[in-house]
Amino acid sequence: MVRAASVPVSFPILSLIVLLPLVAAFWVLLAPGSEDARAANARITALVVTLIELALGVVLWVSFDTSTAAFQFVERIDLFAPFLSWHLGIDGIALMLIVLSTFLMPFCILASWDSIQKRVPEYMAAFLLMETLMIGVFASLDLFLFYVFFEGGLIPMYLIIGIWGGARRIYASYKFFLYTLLGSVLMLLAMIYMVSVAHTTDIPTLLTFNFDPEVQTWLWLAFFASFAVKMPMWPVHTWLPDAHVEAPTAGSVILAGVLLKMGGYGFVRFSLPMFPDASVELMWLVFGLSIVAVVYTSLVALVQSDMKKLIAYSSIAHMAFVTAGLFVFNTQGIEGSLLMMLSHGLVSGALFLCVGVIYDRLHTREIARYGGLANNMPRYALFFMLFTMASVGLPATSGFVAEFLVLLGTFAASTWLAVGMTTGIILGAAYMLYLYRRVIFGTQDNPEVLAMTDLNPREIITLVPIALAVLWMGIYPTSFLTPLHAPVANLLARLHHAAPPVQKVMPATAKGPAK
């Protein structure tokens, strides 16, 4: 990268972490050789590069200063004037999501090691490109650069679903692409309006810019159109089950693990701090949709016969926790939501990997075809149980900490909201345990299921680190919460200054200890 001389030069680690997978993707595509040699080269390159990315993510985490809410590792080059600039930087929230992205990627590559046999170089290149775009979304400090990464992610995901997906992949890929695109273009218009008023595309400046409250509502709704689809919130969630079911395992992991988090990140980065008045005004819209989503999608999950679809609906329910927690405007709620995004990223990713393990053996996702796996796949049963429990929110797993914090936060805002959300937890336990019982326990009438072998070393390597991370987050969440404190406090200060939502919260908070 060419760097402007005026900028204080430090090592451009964010540019490196964003662009390295892109370069690797080109190498994977362009490498010469026979088909087998190219496939082997693609697999190894992808794995090595994603591991380097993980190392870089850890370096970022370790060298991050958690005491400040300011953006760190900032780089800026006016490369694409007059439209946008290459402007990167992260705060604690972005940091954790980047770490999550880099953490999940190597497992995606490993999970696709044997199961993808067709067009391997293209597949690995799509995933590497995806990594560039995901990290770019979280690292952008320019409004339109964010949009480019946000929207650019559609192309590789569309190809991943469409080329390597299941039987109804074409329908699913169209639906995924067009749904998300329609939401995004409205956000684009709102962004253009913001820039024409504020005369800057710089996110840190826009974070402190006070838009006219009348206009804020429209801008908020336009951003909402995009993030609600991405999240996804009821009633614009219908693309997600289709996309999940048809996507290959690793595609589902990335979709659930990281892409859904972009919606939540968008709310934290844009909707809340840039349109505080509108956020307060429309918080009940979010609460209402969240409650409906939690109850409705949990009930829908209960009657699914397809494993991936069930987990997809559970994702929607969990994301409703995130949206509800974000809009209660208190520390517990917002930090809980952010933790929920991290936890769900790990847990749902791991669950999709678990489904992938047995799908590779039997090539069906029908729950009814399985049963009694505890007999011949004990190790698998153990891992699957851990992640099921984490999804339910058992103490000592990451899900518990997140759900507990969100419930604390929602209770401070509204008892009814907390009641609605709690229903979701109960239903969540119901559908996850029901799934577990049908797949792992019971009798084995299908001889093919009986012949299934337990986890192989590659699959164990894939699942163990995620399991450890889930337990770490459940037992010692401070490691993950510390980077979030400063930006969340900053966000709350911003909301407090612009509007008095806290006053609505105060009486409820007073009620808190009395319970």
Binding site: Y147, V185, L186
Partner: protein, 482 residues
């Protein structure tokens, strides 16, 4: 007043092209059809020479030929685009013409003649020189459309284009006569002053304006004057369709900008309603109409209608940013369209027969992976998905529209772009997702492959590095107009 010598010097580009037409025609007549290949390269060289003279001749808004002709930054920018697109159109046709047994030497000569007309169009400073340039370009184009004279489809396309084009020219002329009748002048400079004075309130001037805009809308294939486009693109030989979709669009759009903003700058309120309507109608009809198409050339025809609608958003804004956006749009659009047509030209079955239906594109990503990748880049770019370059011109015109408070137009525009994305995705679907079908013939021309690579790299995210210089050049050109 400039002398004739000064005027000719000012119009060096046109002089070179005109001289080139005579020379190449003579060579062709005496050497026959075997001179097609050398003649093509001679024509490209002549265009390059013309392009070189663009840089030599000062273009600071000087007029020549008694005010009929103007050379300014605006015309220079567009002439670069026109000459570039015309040169590419000449080169890309070679393998096609050789195979289809119509390897006649007139092809490059007609292209050169058409390019001459287009250069005059964008340098017109008078309604009459406008008409002469337009007709010169069109007459050459009519012949090109019917270039496969033994094929019924090609002849039909030529005839259809000619009849409808003649009608549009008539409408245009009628508008010019109305304007002359009510204002007493045909010069843009004089019109500008008259319209700013009292003319704007004159119903006769308004009628003339509507007729003139209709005539030009026909040339850019904007709704409701688009009907000829799919038929002509489908019937005309593919290289000719590539040419129609590129250079003449840029020239006519430039002409429209100059007429609307320069000559009728005082009636912005009046023509903005028309342009807004035409823009919305083109975007929506282009997007919806393409959905049902099974022929790739017809689909690209609807795509061009759709794109013209987007470009018109910038004109509707009527600001300098808007004009910059339109010019930027044209530059990127030419690369995307020519790239797409170059890919279509490469799609031939194993026996060399051209493949034009969408369904038979399946398997392209297996037998010709690089061609498929290039085509995918052009499709995603035309759909306006960031980070591909095709997103940024759309972005520029939307930004201009938002700045001009044309919110409804912008919202309709983005919705149309989502509808439009569907049919571009259908192409990707055929190329990548569908199960492999018959194999394709290997590449037949190194030049064309190189052109595809250049266009694809330009339209890919790497092309974003070209944003800054391109927009700066477009802004410089727009400054000449506003």
């Amino acid at each position: 007043m400039t002398t004739l010598a000064q005027s000719v010097h000012l119009a060096s580009v046109e002089a070179i092209l005109a001289g080139g037409v005579f020379v190449t025609l003579m060579i062709g007549v005496f050497r026959g059809d075997r001179s097609l290949v050398p003649l093509t390269w001679v024509v490209v060289a002549i265009m390059a020479l013309g392009g070189f003279y663009l840089g030599v001749v000062p273009a600071a808004g000087a007029t020549g030929f008694g005010g009929l002709y103007i050379a300014d930054g605006f015309s220079t920018f567009l002439k670069v685009l026109i000459l570039g697109a015309a040169a590419v159109s000449a080169v890309l046709a070679l393998p096609y013409l050789r195979q289809s047994a119509t390897a006649r030497f007139e092809y490059p000569v007609l292209l050169l003649l058409s390019a001459l007309g287009m250069c005059m169009m964008v340098s017109a400073n008078d309604l009459l020189s406008l008409y002469v340039g337009l007709e010169l370009q069109s007459l050459a184009a009519y012949v090109l459309a019917a270039f496969h004279r033994n094929e019924a489809k090609s002849s039909e396309a030529g005839l259809k284009y000619f009849v409808l084009g003649a009608l549009a020219s008539g409408i245009l002329l009628y508008g010019i006569s109305l304007i002359y009748g009510f204002t007493g002048t045909t010069s843009f400079t004089a019109l500008h002053a008259v319209v700013r004075g009292h003319g704007a309130s004159d119903i006769g001037v308004l009628f003339g304006l509507v007729f003139i805009l209709s005539g030009i809308a026909f040339k850019i294939a904007a709704v409701p004057f688009h009907m000829w486009t799919p038929d002509v693109y489908e019937g005309a030989p593919t290289p000719v369709a590539a040419f129609f979709a590129s250079a003449p669009k840029a020239a006519a759009m430039g002409l429209l900008l100059r007429v609307a903003i320069d000559a009728f700058g005082g009636m912005t309120f009046d023509w903005r309603q028309i342009v807004t309507f035409v823009s919305i109608a083109s975007m929506l009809l282009g997007a919806v109409g393409a959905i049902g198409q099974v022929n790739i050339k017809r689909l690209l025809a609807y795509s061009s209608i759709n794109n013209v609608g987007f470009a018109l958003i910038g004109l509707a804004a009527g600001t300098r940013e808007g004009v910059t956006g339109v010019l930027f749009y044209l530059a990127v659009y030419l690369a995307m369209t020519l790239g797409s047509f170059l890919c279509v030209l490469q799609m031939r079955g194993i026996d060399g027969e051209p493949i034009e239906t969408l369904a038979s594109l399946s398997g392209l990503s297996r037998t010709r992976p690089w061609l498929a990748a290039g085509f995918a880049i052009f499709m995603f770019s035309l759909a306006g998905i960031p980070p591909l370059l095709g997103f940024w011109p759309k972005f520029a015109v939307f930004q201009a529209a938002m700045d001009a408070h044309l919110y409804v137009l912008a919202v309709v525009g983005v919705v149309a772009s989502v509808i439009g994305a569907y049919y571009y995705l259908r192409v990707i679907n055929s190329v990548y997702f569908a199960d492999p079908a018959p194999t394709f013939a290997p590449a037949d021309s190194r030049t064309n492959s190189a052109l595809i690579v250049v266009a694809a790299v330009f339209c890919s995210p790497i092309g974003m590095l070209a944003i800054t210089p391109l927009v700066a050049a477009a802004a410089h050109a727009a400054a000449a107009l506003l």
